[in-house]
């Protein structure tokens, strides 16, 4: 019908909007040369090949390394990967705010402990127990979500937070339930069975007392199964319905999808995966305490999901690897220091690229540092006599440049912190040369705060650094690393 109008056009059929979009996709600029060929080849590799490769690499990692520490980190990373997959169902697919997620992980750990330990006298085989615990967790999730069925929204956040608190209260006080000890309170449950399959018990450590790699493999195997199962669900009518209700819940409901029930399903599903993960923690540690399930873990898992990109399975798995490794690196003051300065320089490079402005800011900050330190040292020797935290080569370098007082006044740390925050906020208000000029003292002050305040408290610093990375990422890539770009209103 529109052809009648097209007759007025001199050449061929006119390009409608849809045609244009279609052709635009086909003509999108492709990288040329060897890199372009590689890119196209990589794009055709199927997802299960990537998954196999990923699992194989993680599995091979701890083999050559005879370090219990590295193996432990690898195991914890797999646990975080599983937790991230679980939370991704709730947050990324169901669009729900679940602040009690870690409690379901705890439910799983305690369920395993109660069904496979001397404490209860029950010793179920792992192959039965792990799926059973996952079902228990999903049922618990269903029950917790049920009261807020019609109110799934902000109310769910409150209900789940409440549940989290109840979980902690119960586990902490469960040592005297009408005289019987169920959770053994703060002292936790001990002597939990290790994993056992078909009569074979898997020892936690090898004969030389080294972390048993088998635990990593069992966790990895379950990770693979969970990953594939979830991917299949996401590709089914249920996954489509989840995506629809995230786009427009009213329209989804109108197209015959029971929105509330689907949300509850996502919630229970996530709880099930969390509980399943809890079994590994219990089995490996041989003990379980209420303190294992507190807020920092919840924040870590949320960080992973947001960093990786809500809704993207690949994204949250990579997010788990990144955050897990980062948290370990930040444990060591010297590594944390390197990371801090590298991140600073990379951030500047990201903002300015290779330009004179980059040189001016970097050079200016370095010069300012030496000048200030010399001046401060001349006024009072003790002002620069402090030794930087954890002496190493980088520490010496840093101490030559940053003012580290021997005994900083008590007001100094909070004051510097306050000024830094004010300066950073001020930076967002000014522009052009002024911002460039203000950036130099701000950077120096950041280094000062880092050396004097943050490095002294590695535990808190780890989370502060993660927080800063998250804020930065939200500004640059609001969808996370691999989250899909979404069009909200067109």
């Amino acid at each position: 019908m529109s052809d009648e109008r097209d007759d007025t056009q001199p050449t061929g059929p006119a390009l409608g909007k849809d045609e244009w979009v279609a052709r635009f996709g086909a003509n999108r600029v492709r990288r040329s040369g060897a890199l372009g060929v590689l890119e196209q080849r990589l794009a055709t590799v199927s997802w299960w090949a990537w998954l196999t490769l990923f699992v194989a690499v993680i599995a091979a990692l701890p083999l050559g390394i005879e370090s219990g520490y590295v193996r432990r980190v690898a195991f914890d990373t797999v646990v975080l990967m599983l937790l991230a997959l679980g939370l991704n169902i709730v947050v990324g697919w169901g669009g729900l705010l679940d602040l009690g997620f870690v409690a379901f992980y705890g439910v799983g750990a305690y369920a395993y402990a109660l069904l496979a330990s001397d404490h209860s006298g029950i010793h179920l085989p792992s192959i039965l127990l792990i799926p059973l615990v996952a079902v228990i967790g999903a049922l618990a999730g269903w029950l917790v979500g049920l009261p807020s069925r019609r109110l799934l929204g902000d109310y769910l956040a409150i209900v789940t937070l409440f549940f989290f608190q109840i979980f902690l209260t119960v586990t902490n006080n469960g040592d005297n339930v009408f005289g019987a000890s169920i959770t053994n309170g703060p002292n936790g449950l001990l002597n939990i069975d290790p994993l056992s399959f078909f009569g074979w018990t898997i020892p936690r450590s090898t004969s030389e007392g080294l972390f048993n790699v088998a635990y990593i493999y069992v966790a990895l195997a379950f990770f693979g199964v969970v990953y594939v199962a979830l991917r299949f669900v996401n590709e089914s009518r249920t996954g489509r319905a989840w995506r629809s209700l995230r786009e427009d819940p009213l329209a989804a409901e109108m197209m015959g999808m029971p929105v509330n029930r689907l949300k509850l399903l996502a919630f229970a599903f996530g709880a099930g995966v969390a509980a399943l993960t809890g079994t590994f923690a219990s089995a490996l540690n041989g003990s379980v305490f209420p303190q294992n399930f507190e807020f920092p873990l919840l924040i870590t898992v949320y960080t992973i999901v947001i960093l990786g990109g809500q809704g993207s399975q690949v994204g949250v798995v990579l997010g788990a690897v990144i955050v897990s490794v980062l948290l370990e690196v930040l444990r060591d003051a010297n590594d944390a220091r390197s990371l801090f300065y590298v991140a600073l320089v990379l951030g500047l490079y990201g903002a300015f690229r290779a330009s004179t402005r980059l040189v001016v800011v970097l050079g200016g900050t370095i010069v300012l540092g030496f000048v200030l330190r010399t001046v401060a040292g001349a006024i009072d020797g003790s002002w620069t006599a402090g030794t930087a935290e954890d002496a190493g080569r980088a520490a010496h370098l840093a101490a030559e440049w940053v003012i580290v007082p021997l005994e900083p006044a008590r007001w100094l740390a909070p004051a510097a912190y306050l000024v830094l925050v004010t300066l950073v906020l001020g930076l967002t208000l000014v522009g052009g040369r002024l911002r460039l000029a203000a950036l130099v003292p701000t950077l120096y002050l950041a280094a000062f705060v880092w050396e004097n305040v943050l490095l002294a408290k590695p535990e808190a610093t780890r989370y502060i650094v993660i927080g800063v990375i998250l804020v930065g990422l939200m500004i640059v890539r609001p969808n996370g690393l691999l989250g899909e770009k979404r069009v909200e209103i067109v």
Binding site: A229, F232, V233, T238, R240, L250, A251
Partner: protein, 265 residues
């Protein structure tokens, strides 16, 4: 009496003190195309929201194929056989064209999560059927929504194609009654004409009974078996297009809105 698909008896809807739909009686017979007209704010969209369960009427009864649907959840009403489109367009914008339609097959398909996790043969068969159904429903619009467009995100569609996709999505719920809320709004004259033909085809070929809200009087004249005019939530006229268009109350209702009257009649 013919086969009555939809029947409203004394349906009233009040928001606070404002009565938007007032003791409305309305019925649609199987195979009919009934148009609802009326000035802006007459309560036409609210009527659709009542039928589809978004709102629960303050009074009165709504019967679909003989049984009351008042108080049912919207998805349950859809699963019984009523589907709608939205005046304001509510597509799943970040999903592909095909997925938009496939999603709407949820209500009449079975595969649960366990079967999906295991990818049972039955589940895969059903999935293929859903896909075929979506492509078939999109094929209803000729070449407009087929081929490369299947895999495009809905947001990349032109306005007219979005309206078409809304209809395709609604038909994928396998309804017997289709509620179309201003399907030609915002379209150019050619597209409007095409939409009018399409509505006829939906009834004749698709076999749907249709209740449609439309502003364009040429479209209303061309497609309607019966026309119902609303003003301030009250039915002011009902009958053939000629009867309603010449009804003094209808003329007055439209004259009240000045420019509307000149454009419409």
């Amino acid at each position: 009496m013919a086969d009555r698909v939809l029947e409203l008896q004394g349906v009233t809807m009040a928001f606070g003190g404002l009565t938007v739909v007032d003791a409305l009686d309305l019925h649609v017979e199987r195979g009919e195309i009934v148009s609802v007209i009326g000035p802006n704010g007459a309560g036409k969209t609210t009527l659709f929201n009542l039928v589809t369960g978004v709102y629960r009427p303050s009074a009165g009864d709504i019967r679909f194929e003989g049984s009351s649907i008042v108080g049912l959840e919207p998805h349950a009403i859809t699963q019984r056989g009523i589907a709608r489109t939205f005046q304001t367009l509510r597509l799943f914008l970040n999903m592909t064209v095909r997925e938009n339609v496939m999603a709407a097959a949820y209500g009449h398909t079975q595969a649960g999560v366990i079967r999906s996790m295991l990818r049972t043969p039955g589940m895969r068969r059903e999935e293929r059927a859903i896909r075929a159904l979506a492509e078939e429903r999109l094929g209803f619009f000729g070449e407009r929504l087929v081929g490369y467009r299947w895999d495009q995100p809905a947001y990349s569609l032109s306005y007219a194609n979005r309206r078409r996709l809304e209809i395709a999505r609604a038909t994928a719920t396998n309804p017997r009654l289709l509620l179309l809320d201003e399907p030609a709004a915002g379209m150019n004259p050619n597209e409007t004409l095409e939409m009018a033909e399409l509505i006829g085809k939906l009834r004749d070929v698709g076999g749907y009974t249709i209740l449609v809200i439309e502003h364009d009087m040429h479209v209303v004249e061309g497609i309607s078996d019966r026309v119902v005019a609303l003003d301030h939530g009250v039915k002011i006229a009902e009958g053939t297009f000629e009867q309603v268009a010449t009804d003094p109350k209808v003329v007055e209702a439209y004259l009240g809105t000045g420019a509307m009257a000149r454009k419409a009649l």
